[in-house]
């Protein structure tokens, strides 16, 4: 029995695996899309030169939601469309100033593919990376005292 492909919201086709409903006939193994998302985010953070994930708004909202225990930094800036056999990953990253952006992007792509494929068994068909910002050391430091009192 064949299973129709899944066409994602962005028009990408993510092929489903025809498992006959079970792994070896003794029960299914399922890996949630949230798991794939977290694996992709954690993999991206392992790459030197990646300062953070997410766009400016996502990071601002994320910092607030995480403080109240609702947000999860591991999924910030990561969007995954996963079928049962393939996955497509979109990432938004902030790169450390001074790093080569193309080199960091290539390394992120390689690491995400390695981790997602190795851990989940899904074939990663694409990793789209948006470099949203550059991080300058000291950017997060508290504001200096006003010059005038």
């Amino acid at each position: 029995m064949s299973t129709p492909d899944k066409t994602t919201a962005l028009g990408r086709e993510v092929t489903r695996r025809d498992e006959g409903g079970a792994d070896g006939g003794r029960g299914q193994t399922t890996i949630g899309e949230g798991v794939v998302t977290k694996v992709a985010g954690l993999a991206a953070r392992e790459v030197p030169g990646v300062h953070n994930l997410g766009g400016g708004a996502a990071r601002a909202i994320g910092s607030v939601t995480q403080k109240v225990g609702l947000g999860d930094a591991r999924t910030q800036g990561v969007s995954v469309e996963a079928g049962e056999k393939e996955a497509a990953v979109d990432l938004t990253i902030v790169v450390d100033y001074g790093e080569s952006i193309p080199r960091v992007a290539d390394a992120v792509r390689e690491q995400v593919i390695k981790r997602v494929e190795g851990i989940t068994g899904l074939k990663v068909i694409e990793v789209n990376i948006t470099v949203n910002d550059l991080y300058f050391p000291g950017e997060d430091a508290p504001d200096e005292a006003p010059r005038v009192s």
Binding site: T29, G34, S63, I119
Partner: protein, 120 residues
């Protein structure tokens, strides 16, 4: 599939298999049981509550198990391999307990990844 109390196996078998599955999860490296949002993945019986395991009578005299897991980061091996190990462990335990003929499908679901706090 029927809930306990229908024509399925007795409560004690369902609870026993849930406990065996929970023990198998506990001794498997890299994973921990998760009862999920609103604690919907758990088995409650007279013997107590088993988190992360849904044991359901299949209506044909067997009990199907659904194991809900969070994987620790980084996993030591592919998740499907961990699932296979776990499934085998549950089947072995059921055999030792003389309940092989009562054990139905053992499904494994990975629902979360656990890490140390990630700064963001």
């Amino acid at each position: 599939m029927t809930r306990d109390g229908d024509s399925g196996p007795a409560v004690s078998e369902r609870a026993m298999l849930a406990v065996l599955a929970a023990q198998a999860i506990a001794v498997t490296d890299g994973v921990t049981a998760t009862s999920g949002p609103a604690e919907r993945w758990q088995t409650t019986s007279a013997a107590g509550t088993v988190a992360g395991v849904l044991a359901v009578a299949d209506g044909r005299g067997r009990v199907e198990l659904e194991l809900h897991l969070a994987a620790r980061w980084p996993p030591s091996m592919p998740l499907r391999q961990i699932a296979e190990q776990l499934r085998e462990r549950v089947r072995r335990s059921a055999a030792i307990a003389g309940m092989s003929d009562r054990l139905g499908d053992v499904s494994v679901a990975f629902d979360d990844v656990l890490t140390e706090a990630v700064s963001g």
